[in-house]
Structure formats: structure tokens, C-alpha cells
Amino acid sequence: MAEGEWRNLGKNKYSIIVPTYNERLNIALIVYLIFKHLRGVDFEIIVVDDGSPDGTQDIVKQLQQVYGEDRVLLRARPRKLGLGTAYIHGLKHASGNFVVIMDADLSHHPKYLPSFIKKQLETGASIVTGTRYVKGGGVHGWNLMRKLTSRGANVLAQTFLWPGVSDLTGSFRLYKKSALEDIITSVVSKGYVFQMEMIVRASRKGYRIEEVPITFVDRVFGTSKLGGSEIVEYLKGLVYLLVTT
């Protein structure tokens, strides 16, 4: 990104919350890539590790030696306590006025972070969400069944919820910290529906939401996360959002 485009950054600080569980290699890679792509930006990385047995926390401590304890923060929890509360936990320790949420498994590439920041600076949006379903975005590593359920779920949600965003279940997002704090307290869903509930509630509350294209590389082949029970959970979530938002 050109130097001049960062002029509007001002005193903004970005807290990047990355929940982990058994991601010892990926967390190292993602931290390197974040530092590579966010030169000249004031940011911190908050790793919320849920007691990984594979030594994820040891790697994070080594990364702190390289990058500094003020740039890479380890805020561990004793055991697996769920994604939603991981964000709340990370949020408590965030010192930035903006918060980025991303997955640690490298399906979210840090090279898109500048476009999130740029979009927010241009539009003043409260939320910038990454979308896989527009030009410039895309998915790699999904079979036909996975694509079909994804499209079906999206058409259902667009028809019944009118959410105003094209990718509801994506979880690569930039929030104004105040907006995230406001929204996350009213979200009750778990798992897949969590991201959808976040964005629908944000939309209902009138927060301005902008989108940027991202690509999504699913490296865990053969373990499609969408089985029959997930589809039932999704439909329940849809009905829940219909009657509560």
C-alpha cells in the first residue's frame, strides 16, 4: 500500500484478536504475515489460547521475544470455552480503538488487513466485513456439496433476514471497538450461527457496515464442517434471528 494512503491513520490503534486451539505452527506464520503486511500501522496481536496441549503458548512466548511483548499479547484461558467468550476475553485486554477478528488457521490471510483499514478510513464504517462472494473474493478447497450448502444457506438468509451484507458467516472482520462491545453482549448463539447473529444484530442496530473482498483457502481438506446437524443448527439460528431481531 502506498505511503500516502496511510495519512488518515492518525492515532488509530488496531487490536487483532486471534483465538487459538492447537495452532502452534499457524500462529507463528500468521504473526509473521501480520507484521509483514501492516508496516507503519499501530497494532497489537492478542492471542487468546484455550489451553492448547500442543505448545501453542510456548510458540507465542517465542514470538514475543522476536516482536515484543507489547505487540504480541498472550491472554490464555485454562480450557476450551467457546469462540464468543474468546472474543470477549480478548476485547477486555484490547487497547486499540479498532478491533480485528480473524481465524488462526490461515484461511484468513493477513494481506487483506490493509484493505479493511483503508475501507474503514474511506467510509467511516463501524464494521468492515470480509466477503468471499463478490468479485475479487473467492474460496479454495471446497467440494460441490460444501458450495451447495453455502449458497443455499446464503439465499435463505438473504430472503428472510435482509441483512444487507453478502457474506453472513464469514468471520474476518474489523470493528470499531465500541461497536463490538455493544453488539457482542447481546449475542447468544454458538458456533456457526454466532458470526451471522453478530452481523445481523449490528445491521439492525443501524451500524454502518462495509464489505471488502477476501479469499478463503480451506487447507483442511476432507473435513467438511457442514453435516446434517450443522444444517439443523443453522436453520434454528435463522428462525431465532427472525423472531428476536
Binding site: 502452534r24 505452527l25 507463528a28 506464520l29 509473521y32 504475515l33 500442543d54 510456548d58 510458540i59 517465542q62 514470538l63 521475544q65 522476536v66 490461515l106 490471510h109 494481506k111 463501524s126 468471499r132 462472494y133 463478490v134 468479485k135 473474493g137 473467492g138 474460496v139 479454495h140 478447497g141 460441490l144 458450495k147 451447495l148 449458497r151 443455499g152 446464503n154 439465499v155 435463505l156 438473504q158 430472503t159 428472510f160 433476514l161 435482509w162 455493544d182 439492525r204 442496530k205 443501524g206 451500524y207 479469499t215 478463503f216 483457502v217 487447507r219 434471528l241 427472525l242 423472531v243 428476536t244 431481531t245
Partner: protein, 108 residues
């Protein structure tokens, strides 16, 4: 008549209120359509046998629309095989750098 959307929100004043649960928006939309349909039945502008069939046409066309959207979405599903290659390059680069810095990226 049906003013949906973000008209009545004020985001600055603490917790904004939701004017209407979404399900009620959809119900009122359905009610409006039903009222229009009953009106058509009463007025008999078009033959009644046709008017009776209109809701069925509506449901069928909605279903077709849904299937069409899924089909089109599936055909135009954006994929990015080149990104997987680029990611492998980034991973190799990151591993090289981190290994030099003494971060244990060897195992796994």
C-alpha cells in the same frame, strides 16, 4: 406504507431500539399481499378462477427464484486456486524468517 430499514435508529444514544422484530415485518408484508389479493377477489377485475390461483403462482415463483439463485450462485461460485499456491509461498517465507529468529517452527 411499509417503511423498513434504518430510518428510526439513532446509534449515538446508547442502546438503539429495534422498531419491529423482523418476523413482524415479514408478516405485515404477507398481510399486505393477502389484503391486495382479497381486494382482487372482491373487485372481480380479472376472472375469479384466475385470482384463486394467484397465491399458488406466487409460492411457485418464489421457490423457482430461490432455486435459480442457488443455481446461479453455484455456477458463478468464485474460486481462487492461485491463492493456495501463493499461500504456500508465504508459508515457506515465514518459516525461513522465523527459523532464523529462533522460533520453533520445525515440528508440526
Amino acid at each position: 406504507m411499509l417503511t423498513f430499514g434504518k430510518l428510526t435508529y439513532s446509534q449515538d444514544k446508547g442502546a438503539p431500539f429495534s422498531p419491529m422484530k423482523h418476523i413482524f415485518k415479514i408478516i405485515s408484508l404477507l398481510a399486505a399481499i393477502s389484503a391486495f389479493w382479497v381486494g382482487l377477489l372482491q373487485a372481480s377485475i380479472i376472472p375469479r378462477t384466475h385470482t384463486w390461483l394467484l397465491p399458488i403462482y406466487l409460492v411457485v415463483s418464489l421457490g423457482c427464484y430461490g432455486l435459480l439463485m442457488v443455481g446461479v450462485g453455484l455456477m458463478q461460485f468464485p474460486t481462487c486456486p492461485q491463492e493456495a499456491v501463493l499461500l504456500q509461498q508465504d508459508i515457506a517465507e515465514a518459516k525461513g524468517f522465523l527459523k532464523d529468529k529462533g522460533v520453533d517452527v520445525g515440528s508440526d
